[in-house]
């Protein structure tokens, strides 16, 4: 056996013994048992949004962190997924499972084709051009979704019901003291889809194509000189990521049962995705989970700081007034994270572990 084969054998042996493997299992178990651990819908809602945004942010990480191209319109595909499910279910009244699957399929197809077209048109020229074009497309779609009232419901959006076991009023009975409603089934369906997509992305970035993408990120000209038509690889990455984003858009509206320009297509969602990828760590994929968790948890619970402080320190009005400024504390937290984790939470942790290992 040559040294390279020995390395691979050792790697395979250690794969299931490493602390990171146990951590991943623990994380998955946490998401699976969340409905049993937390009975409040509010917590379940935050956890599921963390799951959805983790996958969306991971798909963005594939193009930003692994390929090195800046897209400012990745949420466009999330919006396409959201709207297709919303329009099929709410506007066209096509509410069977088949129609739901068809809505997903069309959204994936359109997202894939659109991202290939945008990529071929803009990635050949300059990376910054790609950022501008994607932003322009997203803005254009945002305006379109708010203007085409008859199809998209305009700014009011579309509310809808889901078929059969996904309907809110559906109940399968109790299991381990928990009632399995349509809401809970939706939770597990989305969790399963998210898990599949996340594993698919892991496979993608560790495949030969993924390696070429990382080489392009590190030194594009060098990869060209090694024999790669780099922009084609960038287009592949962008189109793969956009398909994942479209599925997550569909999942998001399955959960909230509502779609509008602000909830699925706005620039503020894009900024959130950017923040999440920075906080979690670019080029790590797992960082997306931490980034999404940071933003979702702080957004959900920091505004309640005032109530908590008021109950803990009822006689101190200054403390209550200070606790009103939750956005300020959110900003501070963000600065602290960026300062102490310059490569994001996972990126910095990986660096520290690698340094310890080499010592």
């Amino acid at each position: 056996m040559n040294p390279v084969q020995l390395f691979h054998l050792e790697e395979r042996k250690n794969r299931f013994r490493s602390p990171s493997f146990f951590f991943r299992i623990l994380l998955l178990a946490f998401f699976v048992f969340t409905p049993f651990m937390f009975r409040s819908f509010e917590v379940l809602d935050v956890i599921l949004k963390i799951i959805i945004f983790s996958v969306l942010v991971a798909s963005y990480d594939v193009i930003l962190g692994y390929t090195g191209i800046v897209s400012l319109g990745h949420v466009l595909y999330f919006g396409i997924g959201s709207y297709f499910v919303g329009i099929f279910m709410g506007k066209l009244g096509l509410t069977s499972y088949g129609h739901l699957a068809l809505a997903f399929l069309i959204a994936i197809l359109i997202s894939g084709v659109l991202s290939v077209l945008i990529g071929l048109f803009s990635l050949r020229i300059r990376a910054i051009f790609f950022a501008m074009v994607t932003l322009a497309f997203m803005e254009f779609t945002f305006i379109l979704s708010s203007q085409l009232r008859s199809i998209t419901g305009g700014d009011d959006g579309i509310s809808f019901k889901l078929p059969g076991i996904l309907a809110i009023d559906f109940s399968y009975g109790k299991f381990l003291g928990i009632e399995f409603t349509g809401r809970l089934i939706s939770y597990y369906l989305i969790l399963l889809l998210s898990l599949i997509l996340f594993l698919l992305m892991l496979r993608f970035v560790h495949s030969p194509v993924g390696r070429v993408l990382q080489s392009i990120r590190d030194n594009e000209q060098r990869s060209t000189a090694l024999g790669y038509r780099t922009y084609l690889f960038q287009v592949i990455a962008s189109s793969f990521a956009s398909c994942v984003a479209a599925v997550m858009g569909g999942c998001f509206v399955i959960w909230v049962r509502y779609v509008s320009p602000d909830s699925s297509l706005s620039v503020s969602i894009m900024l959130d995705v950017l923040l999440m990828v920075i906080v979690g760590g670019m080029g790590t994929l797992y960082g997306s989970i931490f980034g999404a968790a940071f933003l979702m948890v702080t957004r959900a619970f920091l505004p309640k700081l005032q109530v908590i402080i008021a109950s803990l320190l009822p006689g101190i009005p200054l403390a209550i007034r200070l606790s009103e400024r939750w956005l300020f504390y959110f900003g501070l937290l963000f600065i602290v994270i960026v300062y102490f984790f310059p490569k994001g939470i996972v990126g910095t942790a990986q660096e520290i572990f690698a340094r310890r290992k080499s010592n």
Binding site: N2, P3, V4, F7, E11, P208, R211, V212, Q214, S215, R217, D218, N219, Q221, R222, S223, T224, A225, L226, G227, Y228, R229, T230, G283, A354, S358
Partner: protein, 237 residues
Amino acid sequence: MVEPILKVEEIHTFIGKHHILQGVSFAVHPGKVTVLLGRNGAGKSTTLRSIMGLLPPSQGTINLKNRPIKGLKPYEISRLGIGFVPEDRGIYNLLTVEENFRVAMLQEDGKTRERMETIFDIFPDLKKFWKAKAGNLSGGQKQMLAIARPLVNQNELLLIDEPSKGLAPIIIDHIIDSIHMLKEYTVIILVEQNFYMASSLGNDFYLFDDGKTVHQGQMEELIQNEELKKKYLGISG
């Protein structure tokens, strides 16, 4: 006379408005190391980049085994069997040594394993640091990785730009030994400022001045010719 593997004739290359190569011509023969020499800014590195298509020449011809390659894209030129080791080494710091090789491997054929064994024989350090991030290697190891990487493919020609740059003399000796071993497997064009390295490795030489090839010959002649060395390389004594 043996047909040259690469023939460059009267190429002119611009970088922006600057006319860098103003008529470069040379031929590279099989089984030899051809060294391009000259002062800083003479156009040696630009010549290698022009051959690779990274700085496409505006005039002149470049033929690889009688096939014109001027105007082809860098990835097409690379796939014709030309490996390039740039001055900045161009290794992927965030990838491991293994991943650097895997990216360079355009296709895995029956001889890939054989070539990898050869690479490990010539550069044993790379075997030792196979799983290490390339960015954590020492300067000499990075240079070895950069030189070894194109060899995973069946490249007939290897362009190496300033392999001694920034390296300690003892490491330079090691790189010289490695390139000596490489001569068995591929034809080499070497751009080098370090005359010790150039004269240790080169069979043929071309002197560059102001973007033109001004002298050519066999390395032994240049070693003896103090006037040429002083005039074009600033070496005296």
